[in-house]
Every structure is written in C-alpha cells, then in structure tokens.
Amino acid sequence: MIRRGFFSLLPAVVAVVLAMVVTGLVIALTGGSAGQFYSTILSVPIPRVSVTIVNQTAMIAISAFAAAIAFRMNLFNIGVEGQYIAGSCAGAFFAGSGLVAGPAVIPATLVVAVVAGAAWASIGGFLLVGRGVSEVISAIMLNYVALTMAGYLVNRYGVASGYTFTTNPLELNQQPVGFQVVDGPYQVWALAIIAVLVAIGYWVLINHTRFGFDLRASGASSTAAAASGVDAKKMTLIAMALSGGVAGLVWMPAFFGSVHKFGIPENFQSGLGFTGLAVALLGRNRSIGILVGSLLFAFLSAQSNDLQSVGVAPEIISITQGVVVLAVVVAYEIVRRLQIRREQESVARELASARPTAEEASR
C-alpha cells in the first residue's frame, strides 16, 4: 500500500524537479542567473501574491476539470478555451443587461455561463458524432471564432471604457464579498468555492455514478462499452456538453470577485483553457491531482512576475510548466510499464510454482 502510494507520487515529484533543472539550464545557457531564478521562484509568496495564487488556482482547476471530463471519455477537448470565452461573454452580457436585479443575478448568470459553454462545446460534439469531424480540429477553429465573436459583440454592444469596450458593470449589490484571509484590499474570491464544488462533483460523478462508469468504460474501450449497451454517440454528446458547461464557469470567480465586467484585453483573462488542459494531464484526471497541479501552475505563474527584476524574462516559466507536463506523461508511462512487467513476472512465477503442485495432486 505504501509502495503503491510512493509509485503514484514519485513521478510527479521527479517531473517537477526535472522541470526546474531544465529551466535553470536554459537560463544559464542564455546568460542569465539560474540561482536568482530559483531564489525568486522558490521564495515564500508575500500575502497579496498568495491571494492571487489561490484565486488563480480556482480558475485553473475549474478549467482542468472541464478538460478531464472529456479526457475520461478519450475526447481531447482542446476547445475549453473557446467554451469559457463563450460562457464568460454570455454570462457578463446577461449580468450587465439588468434582466435580473440584486444578488439573484449570481445563480442566474452561472446558469447562462454553463449553458453558453455547453452549447459552444456541443457544436464540436455534433460535428464529431454526425459528420466525423475530429473534435480537436473543430475546437481549435471554434476557439478563434469564440474570441473574435466575443470581441465583436463587446465592441458593438458594449460601453466604451478608455480605448476599449466592456459589458455593463455589475451593480454594487451584485458583487459578493470575498474571503478576507490577509490584511489589505486583497480577497479570495467568493466564487472560488466553485472549484471545490466542481472537484467534489467530478469525483462523485466519475467514481460513484452509472454515468461515470459508462464514461470511463467508453474511454477505456469504445467497442467493449458498445457491446455492453452503452450508446457511444450519446455519451460523446453528453461528455462534450458537460465538459463545455464546466468550462463556462471558469472565469466566473474573477467576474464576480473583482472584474465585474467583460472586455478583452483588460477585463478578461484568456489562456486559462490551455492551462487547464495541461493541468488535467498533470493531475492525471484525478480530483486531488488536478487541485495540486492547479496550485503548482498558479504558484509558478504568480512567482514569475518578479523575475524581470532579476533579469530573467518571466515567460521562461512556460518552459517549466511545459516540461512538467511532458515529464509527468513520460514518467507515468514508464511506471505503468514497470508495473505491468512486475505483474507479469509475478503471475509467471506463481504459474511456474503452481504446476508441480497440480502434478502432485494427480499422482
């Protein structure tokens, strides 16, 4: 049991260490100071940065769970990016429209965001089921469509703010109070709690429901699942819609927590969809793994902010994050093969020792 826990954790730790070493090497090779990189990245974050890390962890985790739902079905939903842009844009327009007054706007907006994200993901789902279009190809294109369309809608129907346009901001009584964990004007967003709820919901859904079993079965072997009565097409559509629905929620903590309006580039954070994909891989589609992976990515990104002052381009952290993901994938594959070999050996040994016993019995 201890051995098993060791085996499931070790590759992740090795991957993180390897990634830090590789990044240090890259910095040293390009004439920077690897030592200052390490001391900056590995320093204890000051309170306001800690709050940023927690908030970012929440959004990255929601995005990663969205990706993980599809991964479990063996679907590569690279469209989380476009789906959460669609959800954010639709949600913010709805919230700013004044259709729902007061705090009731919060649940209503969440519903709109989920529906918009699910609808956007379903385009890819239907194209895959109906026309056999790879969900990866359609999603990449739909990401660009979502970004451009959101920009067009805000430019056309938004309100001017400086040089850009945004949706109507939330009223004061529609802005939930966050968690005051440190002094100063920094709060953990109220809706960061969504990440925890999604984590629990994901764990229950995948491991303790019939739907989750069907999903995993279809992902592991679509033919075997079909033979036992699982409708693969229906499962694909539902998995994509569910994945997109969760994706629609990604930016909602920031929207209600601090931004209060939608507008690219200042009043929106793009790129979380791709981060989520990487974190889902890093966390191996498991609830705890995803939460820890989200924290790691949020930590690295937030800490990289100070890198420029020691003469290192902050983008270098993308190398660390990329190597972590690659190394984790490779490391777990190696461990998996080692375990298979060990199991085969032990089975062979048992068979070899079992045979004489059988002969003795027949004598």
């Binding site: 580039p265 954070q269 990289s304």
Partner: protein, 354 residues
C-alpha cells in the same frame, strides 16, 4: 496502446501550446539581464518601467519607452528596473507588479501601454508618494488621481502626414492600412492616415484590415501581419502603413517580397530594420514615447511631477515622421511641411475616429 498515444499526443500538444507563449521573448532574455536592475546614482529617484506584452525588443513601442529611460539617465543618475506583462495575465498580476515596484521604493512608475490604466487606477491611491504615469493611459472612473499622469499622443496627426506621403508617392492610387487590434486607439491611426491620403487625392483607394477584433495577440503576430499586407499588395496596393506593434515585422517582410513599400510606426523603424527591408520602409510615423517618458521622469526630478492628461501633438513634436533612407522625395517633404503647418495652425482638423 491507443490510450497511450492519445495521452502522449495530448501532453505534447499541451506543452507546445504553453511553449509558444515564450517563443518571441526567449531571444531577448539574455541582454535584459545585463541592462536591467542597473544601479548607481546618488539621488533618491528610483524609476520602474512596466511594459505591456511583448516587452523590450519589439523595435517599436516598448523600445521607445526604454530609449526615453536611457535619455533620462544621461541627464540624471538614478536607479531603474523593468517589469513585463506576460501573455494571458490577469488584472491582479498587473497590480501586483505595480505594487511590487512601489513597495520596493520605486517612486516613479511608468506603465507602458493603455492596458495599465485600470491597474494604475486601482493601485495609485494606496501609494500617494509614488508618481505614476501611463503611456496612452486614461482614467477609467470619475475619481481623479492626484499622482497619475496620462501621457497621450495625437497619433492621428502623425498618421495624417504619412497618409499624405503615401498618397503623394503611390503609383497605383491604392494604399493600405494594417491595424493590430480594432480598438479606439488604433482607429486614431487609421482615421488620420485615411484623412491625410484623401487630402492629397480624394479618389484614392485605402484598404483597411485589423488583425484582431480585441485580443492583444494582434500586436504580436508577424505572420498575420505578413498575410494581411501580402493580400493588399496582391490587390494592387503599393504602400501599406501598419500600426500593429511587433506584427509590423511581417508587414515589412511582405513589402520586401512584393518589392513594394511599407510605413513604420512609433519608432523610426528604418533604423532597426534588416538590410533587405530597409529599401522598402518609406517612412515611419513617429510617436515620441521616448520624449514622453523622459519628460515625465525629468518632471519628477525637478520636483513638479506631471499629473493629469498631457497630449503630445505635432505642435509639441510629440508625433511626426522619419526621413531615414531618403525614400521620401524632396517634393513630398515640402508638401508635408505645408500640411504640418496647417495642422499646427488649426487650419486642418484631423479626425480621431474613422
């Protein structure tokens, strides 16, 4: 096996997506090490520059701000540092950057690019002793900030002049404009450029393209810039003006390949262009971000910091055009001088929106 390949492919793709973000900056990281955080000096002035996405090395907007910092250092000794936005960062990260500078004792903090408007507005009230400035900035709310300077430019006036230059030297009566992002700031460039061209030739054909609707990636996409400009040259245009930051490198490549002309922006881009590109960069619309940066630092140094809105226009030599490479004819230059005088005198009113 199938499971492995999907998983591995997904991992590689995800890593590639993450890594693309750092591609453009990897080559600049080495020389930043030597120049930034350079200390020295005796005064109590400490200056921090916070760049937008792209950072130093864009041969355009951000580099101009850095040049202003270097100019200021010639006049006075002081300590300086720089910070840079990364792609896809949120407001809190921008604010953390500014607060970090202020906490470290930097009393002059310049946000390079309008994207810092909201974050400076949020941070400035907490640091009344720090002098903030935002290049291209604006105040997003009604409350005035006593310690923030908004340094804006009359880009439409400079663009008017290069538009007139294009109209005077085109042979096909067809010219083009490539904007990085379709927002009100870049539309000022378009409006002035079109107005200048029409002033010379009311029948001129001006093609207009924006690379992105709202996403700032339009300022960092040379391949998109090249595709847009190539399409214009193929359609018969012979001069294309870009206001697209680092995407402009693609516009210059397109001009070089098509053997046509391009017009640079912000800095004198002929200076930083490659030898093949130089004969094709007719002129550049100068936006003196360097002057604005230097003047602001000097104003703090002298004890009377600039605050509120300051517009750098033709009259103040805040905008203009370059003549490097001698590709503008003497006749063009004399006509441009005439237009310039008319704008300064108020006889020509240049529109700020298309």
């Amino acid at each position: 096996m199938r499971r492995l390949s999907t998983f591995a492919a997904a991992g590689i793709t995800a890593s590639a997506l993450l890594l693309t973000a750092c591609g453009t900056n990897a080559d600049t990281s080495s020389d930043e090490g030597s120049a930034s955080a350079s200390s020295g000096g005796s005064g109590d002035l400490k200056v921090a520059l916070a760049y937008d996405v792209g950072g130093r090395g864009d041969k355009s907007f951000n580099d101009a701000a850095y040049a202003g910092l270097q100019e200021a250092k010639k006049a006075a000794e002081f300590e300086s540092t720089e910070g840079e936005a990364s792609t896809d960062e949120d407001e809190a990260t921008r604010e953390n950057r500014l607060r970090g500078f202020a906490d470290d004792g930097y009393n002059v903090v310049v946000g390079v690019g309008f994207a810092y408007s909201e974050s400076v507005n949020a941070v400035a009230p907490d640091y009344p002793d720090v002098n903030f400035a935002i290049i291209d900035g604006f105040d997003p709310d009604e409350e005035e900030n006593a310690n923030v300077a908004y340094l804006t430019f009359a880009e439409e006036q400079g663009s008017f002049l290069v538009g007139a230059a294009a109209a005077l030297q085109t042979e096909s009566d067809q010219i083009g404009f490539v904007g990085g992002v379709n927002n009100a700031l870049i539309q000022k460039f378009e409006a002035g450029y079109v107005a200048g061209a029409k002033e010379v030739n009311p029948d001129i054909d001006v093609a207009v393209t924006y690379l992105e609707e709202t996403d700032v990636s339009g300022f960092n996409a040379p391949d998109d810039g090249q595709a847009a400009a190539t399409a214009m040259y193929d359609d018969g245009a012979d001069i294309v003006y870009h206001a697209s930051g680092a995407s402009g490198a693609g516009v210059f490549d397109a001009a070089t390949q098509a053997d046509k002309f391009a017009i640079g922006v912000d800095s004198d881009q002929w200076q930083s262009a490659s030898a093949e590109q130089k004969p094709h960069i007719m002129t550049s619309m100068l936006k003196r971000v360097d002057v604005a940066t230097k003047d602001f630092i000097a104003s703090v140094e002298s004890g009377s910091p600039q605050t509120g809105y300051t517009t750098f226009d033709l009259k103040a030599d805040g905008v203009g055009y370059s003549t490097s490479g001698d590709l503008l004819t003497a006749d063009t230059i004399s006509q441009l001088d005439g237009f310039k005088q008319q704008i300064v005198d108020g006889d020509i009113k240049v529109p700020t929106a298309p």
